[in-house]
């Protein structure tokens, strides 16, 4: 369990509203003949912090990548913030600009400075004036505690710093929903804490988050719901207290014993 979650979490801002942020109904996806996602139903309300976990190959990454259409689903419906994802490119670009995504391997743009990484999309997609975009970028870089790195290139930063820049880059688009795809899996143990702290702060401010992670400490501290997936299906979802202390399915029990056992 990570050290980063031992501190006290302020849950006062972490309120779940009745408004629906994401609605997935009867969604299926295949890679060729391989049925990756089977009959997924998931409703996410505004302000929810959802942790998705499960063994590798269970389809959890594919699921959140479907939410901003990095992957295409073949059956069922995905509605994000009132916009349904179809092959209509306008809808896809709208959803993508409103949904932030943080990747396992950061995916910063190596040919641009940290500041340019953060201002590029606001300037070109949101048509924000350059000065304003830079102010916003510096605001979020201060928030993730690396404003002094603004004029360096991503290759000069540590993994943890790069991932925090990636989070700031997403925030600069003022997203309503943030997706995290194993944000700490590629990091050295020393750097996991700084990234988790940033994510916890974000949760405390009431951001709607879906996070694929193996950081069970983070799940217990921040999540209001844990979704467990196996073989492309949602096997169990529950509050973290119930999920960790009284898992219902045998598959969940086995998984928890394997990751918490050592």
């Amino acid at each position: 369990m990570s050290e980063g979650t031992q501190r006290r979490i302020d849950r006062s801002q972490m309120r779940v509203s009745d408004e629906i942020a994401i609605q997935i109904t009867a969604m299926n996806k295949w890679y060729g003949n391989f049925h990756v996602l089977r009959d997924i139903d998931l409703t996410v309300h505004k302000g929810e912090r959802i942790v998705v976990c499960g063994p590798s190959g269970s389809g959890k990454s594919t699921l959140i990548r479907c939410i901003n259409r990095l992957e295409e689903h073949q059956q069922g419906r995905i509605v994000v913030d009132g916009t349904e994802l179809t092959s209509d490119l306008k809808n896809i670009d709208k959803v993508r600009s409103d949904v932030g995504m943080v990747f396992q391997h950061f995916n910063l743009f190596p040919h641009l400075t940290i500041l340019e990484n953060c201002t590029l999309a606001p300037i070109w997609v949101r048509k924000v004036p350059k000065k304003e975009a830079e102010d916003t970028a510096m605001h979020f870089l201060r928030k993730v505690r690396i404003p002094e790195q603004a004029h360096k290139y991503p290759g000069q930063l540590s993994g943890g710093q790069q991932q925090r820049v990636a989070i700031a880059r997403s925030l600069c688009m003022k997203p309503r929903i943030m997706l995290f795809d194993e944000p700490t899996s590629a990091l050295d143990p020393e750097m996991i804490k700084e990234v988790l702290d940033t994510m916890i702060e974000l949760a405390q401010e009431g951001m709607t988050m879906i996070c694929v992670t193996h950081e069970m400490g983070f799940a217990q501290a921040v999540a209001n719901r844990v979704v467990f997936m196996d073989q492309g299906q949602i096997v169990e979802q529950n509050s973290p207290q119930e999920f960790f202390n009284h898992p219902k399915s045998e598959r969940t029990k086995l998984f928890l014993s394997q990751i918490l056992g050592h």
């Binding site: 993508r96 932030g100 040919h111």
Partner: protein, 439 residues
């Protein structure tokens, strides 16, 4: 405490060691010689062999260069001077020919009183290239770079300036219509409309309008026909235009080849494979002979223009493949990051993908450019006077220079080398300047 014993008891380091300089024997010229030239029997043998080859080459070439003659009016006179000064068996280079024929090597049969026009165009080429090649140059100069092609063509071929003004007006009009239409009708309809408009403008509007304007305000300079062009003027005109045209075309072809749209993809693949599978000379012959059969009888396409188009298409196919290599080297994550920020296809390509893919492809792209520039000498096969074969043949058919053999090729080769070496050095500079990933 003995060394061995020291390792067996628990140990805590109290002072950290500062870094120190390497031992003397690890540095200096002697060390370098031993490492690189005499490190083993095989290496010693190769060093000796290399020195012997160098000796043989220099023994043959050096006297020839040292005995050079710069002032003479014929090859016979050259030989006489060499024999008189260095003895009857001596050989010497006869650069006097270059001295006499220098303008012809530069301009071909371009009218001598108009030499200033290509010279000016060449000088302005550097002004136009500066903001494209170097980042320290003021950006507004890019406007000059955009107008430069028309200005240069006008200077080289002459004629009415209004003709080119009408061409620029047509381009501007097309662009304006496209920008207006793209918002209401979408990219495909607007693009088609723009192409149709541009074609109609160039067929029906350019000539009559420029003729009318010419009557009102005459602004024409002496026209020069394409068959007067030759030498390096020809090579550089074809080379620079084809280089400038093949890069954007190559980028589009590379993107086409990776497109999800089957029609675009198969067109791009088909074009690239056909063009790469055919020798350049075939393409040039097509340009000079066959093309005329397919065009309406009264349409006369300038031969240099035809060759430029073919050379551009030819180089574009190679550059497309080089750029495809750069595109393939980019991790998928870069595309996904651009997508996840809501960028559309062209924004992602322009801001994220191309800057990185082109940087990776610089060595390959510049190789293609160098190859293309050297290939401009092949226009000799369609009866144009390239510097290597065309002009040299003309020089040698002069009774005074009959039999001169090495000097023209060495001279032309040296100039090609200078230009190509310059391109190569620039590409290395660019790679260094863009090296930002610090990996």
């Amino acid at each position: 405490m003995s060394e061995i014993h020291a390792q067996t008891v628990p140990f805590v380091r109290e002072t950290m060691l500062p870094p120190s300089a390497p031992p003397r024997s690890e540095a200096g010229a002697v060390r370098w010689l031993r490492d690189n030239l005499f490190s083993g029997p095989m290496n010693i043998a190769l060093t000796v062999l290399g020195l012997m080859i160098l000796y043989v080459v220099f023994q043959a070439v050096l006297p020839w260069l040292l005995h050079s003659v710069w002032n003479a009016t014929s090859l016979g006179e050259c030989r006489e001077i060499v024999a008189r000064t260095w003895g009857p068996d001596a050989s010497g280079a006869c650069w006097a020919m270059i001295r006499e024929r220098w303008p012809q090597y530069l301009f071909g049969f371009y009218p001598a009183d108009l030499y200033w026009r290509p010279t000016l165009a060449f000088a302005l080429l550097f002004v136009a290239l500066a903001p494209v090649l170097f980042s320290g140059v003021p950006r507004p100069l890019l406007w000059f770079s955009a107008v430069y092609p028309m200005l240069a063509f006008w200077l080289l071929w002459g004629g009415s300036v209004w003709w080119w003004v009408m061409v620029i007006a047509g381009l501007a009009l097309t662009y304006a219509v496209f920008r207006l239409a793209v918002l209401r009708l979408g990219a495909i309809v607007a693009g088609t409309l723009a192409v149709v408009l541009l074609a109609a403008w160039s067929v029906y509007a350019v000539a009559p309008l420029s003729g009318r304007l010419d009557q009102v305000i005459p602004a024409a300079i002496t026209p020069v026909a394409s068959d007067r062009f030759g030498g390096f003027l020809l090579s550089i005109t074809i080379g620079v235009t084809a280089i400038g045209g093949s890069l954007p075309l190559g980028i589009l072809l590379a993107l086409g080849r990776r497109s999800d749209m089957p029609l675009v993809k198969s067109l791009a693949v088909g074009f690239i494979e056909v063009v790469r599978g055919v020798p350049l000379i075939t393409v040039l012959f097509t340009a000079s002979l066959l093309l005329q059969y397919f065009l309406p009888p009264r349409v006369q396409f300038d031969i240099i223009l035809r060759v430029i188009i073919m050379a551009t298409l030819f180089a574009a196919a190679y550059i497309a493949e080089v750029i495809r290599g750069g595109l393939a080297a980019l991790p998928r994550g870069q595309y996904e990051a651009a997508d996840s920020l809501g960028m559309d296809y062209w924004q992602a390509q322009r801001l994220i993908i191309m800057p990185q893919a082109l940087k990776i492809s610089i060595p390959g792209i510049v190789s293609s450019f160098i190859g293309l520039f050297k290939d401009t000498t092949l226009v000799a096969f369609v009866a144009l006077n390239d510097p290597l074969k065309g002009i040299t043949q003309i020089v040698r058919s002069d009774i005074n220079w009959k039999g001169i053999y090495w000097e023209p090729y060495v001279f032309v080769g040296a100039i090609f080398f200078l230009i190509c070496f310059g391109m190569s050095r620039y590409s290395m500079y660019l790679e260094r300047r863009l090296k930002r990933d610090h990996r």
